[in-house]
């Protein structure tokens, strides 16, 4: 079996902070204020997506119409990653490229749901009423715009990535498994190059409901990520955005003269039973395995802000006081399925630049080293699943 070095040769990013690698680097470096909206979904605060001209990556209006926003964000971001890697429009490379997408579900039709809830209050024949409404009011193609694996399907259609297409589900953990699987396949020689990532649209009440059923959302406005334990609500502030990576074996990248941001040295993951196992111990264990004690210069944390969960992660991070930490959800929100690819991308970017961007929450984050050669990226799921990646300079 081969033991290939796996490198990141393309990064696609969009979020509330902007579009593309450099826009994000600048936003973090210049310490711009987080862009938040606390009005539209009051009492919840979200980080809304920057204005995007979808035509730039999804040229056909017909394709745009077939997607709900999360699919559009993902397809657009995937295009950015391919472009960044110099692979976009290279038919041969796209046709042999593997793909793993971390996906949730799409957005429901709010108007139809409201009609049904309204009728539900006055009708006794709920089943019959549901059939009436759903058969007459639902847009036939909405199903495809919601379906989890259709983000990957749209990427195949728009960007011609067709080597393989796999969609992983399961909130934050799906993002961890997606990168872990793509890396393992390239390392072992089962694949040479892969597109991997995820996307999330938070600007939809049904997506907020997906958190709030368990009381996870912060309800008293924005606060720095590490200072939410005493606020109202559950602590999570979500963001819209997407993050995709192009991964290649180092040989494959070298042969085509591609620039590598960083190598993904390893992915460490677990899913402890949080009801009976200690989360801080688990996260500390993963960080230790990933080399936080010795060689890491920086940790890009994907902490979502959830009360208790993020405190447990912070306690684990605090066991490595020599390593600078950046909690990026404090700047652009939590992207759920897209969170792990986001933190891996930002960690790779810091390694590539050789320096850490400044603290986001200066009260809780140290300035950090002058040089960054190794960085870790963490994502600890709001309900389950824990992952850490180790990025090293190439």
């Amino acid at each position: 079996m081969q033991n290939n070095t796996v490198v990141i040769t393309g990064i696609g990013l969009i979020s509330s902070l902007g579009e593309g690698v450099e826009a994000h680097w600048q936003a973090f470096s210049d310490k711009v204020e987080p862009r938040v909206d606390s009005e539209t979904f009051k009492p919840y605060t979200i980080h809304p997506l920057v204005e995007v001209d979808w035509n730039n990556q999804i040229p056909k209006r017909g394709d745009q119409r077939q997607m709900e926003t999360w699919q559009r964000i993902g397809t657009y971001t995937a295009g950015l990653a391919l472009q960044d890697a110099g692979i976009k429009d290279d038919e041969a490379l796209c046709a042999t490229m593997d793909m793993v997408v971390a996906a949730g579900g799409g957005e429901r039709d709010v108007t139809v749901d409201k009609q049904i809830l309204t009728e539900g209050r006055v009708r006794n024949d709920l089943g019959t009423m549901l059939n009436e409404k759903l058969t007459t009011e639902l847009r036939p193609t909405l199903f495809l715009a919601q379906l989890s694996n259709l983000l990957a399907g749209n990427i195949s259609i728009v960007h011609k990535v067709t080597g393989s297409s796999r969609t992983f589900m399961g909130e934050e953990g799906s993002g961890v498994s997606a990168i872990d699987t793509a890396v393992a396949r390239i390392r072992s020689g089962q694949s040479t190059h892969a597109l991997v990532g995820g996307a999330y649209n938070t600007e939809h009440p049904d997506m907020l409901l997906g958190y709030e059923l368990n009381g996870l959302l912060k309800t008293d406005g924005w606060a720095p990520l590490w200072q939410r334990e005493n606020g109202a609500g559950g602590g999570v502030v979500t963001g819209s955005g997407g993050a995709f990576l192009v991964l290649e074996s180092l040989d494959h990248a070298k042969k085509r003269g591609a620039r590598a941001y960083a190598a993904i040295d390893a992915v460490y993951s677990s899913q402890i039973r949080r009801s009976r196992e200690d989360l801080t111990e688990a996260v500390a264990g993963l960080l230790k395995a990933a080399g936080a004690a010795q060689a890491a210069d920086l940790i890009i944390s994907g902490a979502c802000g959830a009360k208790g969960i993020t405190a447990a992660e912070k306690a684990a991070l605090d066991r490595f006081p020599d390593v600078a930490v950046r909690g990026i959800a404090g700047k652009l929100g939590h992207l759920r399925e897209g969170q792990f690819s986001l933190v891996v991308a930002l960690a790779a970017l810091n390694v590539f630049k050789g320096t850490a961007f400044p603290p986001i929450d200066a009260d809780n984050e140290s300035v950090g080293p002058s040089q960054v050669r190794t960085a870790l990226a963490t994502t600890i799921g709001g309900s389950r699943g824990e992952g850490v990646a180790r990025l090293v300079s190439v």
Binding site: D113, T135, L138, F168, M169, V176, S177, R185, Q271
Partner: protein
């Protein structure tokens, strides 16, 4: 090439345990008896109201306590039952599996009963809608409802019950999902990450809304009477698939480790192949090249030639589009021989179990190898003259089968094929 490695020097993958649940019943024995006697599990739906619905039939699993508890609860139960059977057959302890879990599960959303229940909490506070549903949540967490919509929840429950190792993978590749779960497991064993894996495909998601969604895409058969005649793959008058539920589970092991612990090897998972289609969200590329590519990739991965395949367990959904394209793909790969080799569709009897289909049909493929019985394609009364295949019409056939191709094709350009053989070489 040692006795435990394949043509590429990779660990051979043995199947040592299998489990299945479908509308035909629980367990391999009941399912196989019904399937080989040409019994249909398709029936008129009783789970929800049928007024205004053009399609009123499905292959729902109605015999479990969880059958009326929603998609998440039923999908979990189906997966759990199939996995119990598979792990027990493999002779492994139920609570300490010791390898990773790959679960193909349906995307789930908050059930209407729960939306109505939330609304009832806040009815007096104003107009219904998402603002009020969110306000209802702020009165206190709804943990049970929350669990039903978390995509990672079912795998967490299964991981806990079976003692699987690490972060489980939950996946969806639409109607190819079950095959993808197996493929991911095969790849993990080949990488040496584990000696054994548990791969499951499950689907208990038939509801009014899910049925209406497929119906609005004109994907479903509307031939409600008689229900058992609705699924008729490769027939001239086929008019859509029939939604169904079930689960298939496999314990896969490196052959070396299976032999070393004295496990009974049921068959070899020889190869997996896939190819995505970039043509359209629901239609295949007219030249069939992605499906052809997936079949060829599976044969290449297995290291065998087309002529070594003795039976094809077809995707055969009974939609006009799928069956036509599947024939195009198979006839391109297998040439003239396709008119005389047995190709049958389990979906004629169990319907389309969607996320579970690839896993259930892989289990049935191995049962064919083990028993020498090919299940029929029932309801084949009116052959499509454009599809010239031996579909094992209506009645099972006894035949020695040592290698099977099982194909899965899904919305979103998903094409995945598996090759299973009796022997490692």
């Amino acid at each position: 090439m040692s006795q435990y490695t394949d043509h590429l020097g990779r660990p051979l993958v043995a199947i040592t345990g299998m489990g299945v649940v479908s509308s035909l019943g629980q367990g391999k024995e009941d399912n196989w008896a019904a399937l080989t006697s040409g019994t249909s599990g398709i029936h008129t739906i009783t789970r929800f109201a049928l007024d205004n619905l053009r399609t009123q039939i499905a292959g729902t699993v109605d015999f479990l306590e969880e059958s009326n508890q929603g998609a998440s609860a039923l999908s979990e139960k189906l997966a759990s039952l199939a996995a119990e059977e598979a792990v027990a057959q493999a002779g492994l302890p139920i609570g300490d599996f010791g390898g990773p879990l790959f679960l193909a599960a349906p995307p789930v959303e908050l059930e209407w009963r729960n939306r109505f229940a939330l609304d009832a909490l806040v009815k007096s506070e104003g107009e219904p809608g998402y603002d009020l549903l969110l306000a209802a949540c702020r009165r206190g967490p709804q943990v049970d409802m929350f669990n039903t919509i978390e995509f990672g929840y079912i795998a967490e429950c299964l991981a806990d019950k079976f003692g699987t190792r690490g972060l489980p993978v939950t996946l969806s590749t639409a109607c190819a999902s079950g095959a993808t779960a197996i493929q991911l497991g095969v790849e993990a064993i080949r990488r040496g990450e584990s000696d054994r894996v548990l791969s499951i495909g499950t689907d208990g998601s038939v509801s009014a809304e899910s049925l209406i969604r497929f119906s609005l895409l004109s994907a479903l058969s509307t031939q409600n009477e008689p229900a058992h005649k609705a699924a008729k793959p490769f027939s001239k008058d086929r008019d859509g698939f029939v939604m169904a539920e079930g689960s298939g589970a496999m314990v896969l092991e490196s052959l070396e480790s299976a032999v070393a612990r004295g496990a009974n090897v049921l068959g070899i998972m020889r190869g997996c192949g896939e190819k995505a289609d970039d043509f359209h969200r629901t239609r295949s590329k007219p030249d069939g090249s992605p499906a052809i590519g997936a079949v060829r990739a599976a044969l290449d991965d297995a290291g065998i030639k087309e002529d070594a395949i003795e039976y094809i367990n077809a995707h055969g959904t009974s939609t006009p589009e799928n069956d036509k394209m599947e024939y195009l793909a198979l006839s391109t790969v297998f040439g003239e021989r396709i008119s005389s080799m047995p190709v049958s569709s389990n979906k004629s009897m169990i319907g389309h179990t969607l996320t579970a289909a690839g896993a259930i049909e892989a289990v049935f493929s191995v049962l064919t190898i083990q028993t020498g019985t090919i299940p029929p394609t029932i309801n084949y009364d009116n052959p499509d003259p454009a599809i010239i295949m031996d579909v094992v019409p209506n009645v099972k056939r006894e035949a020695r089968v040592s290698s099977v191709l099982s194909s899965s094709f899904g919305f979103g350009g998903q094409n995945t094929c598996l090759v299973m053989t009796a022997e490692p070489n």
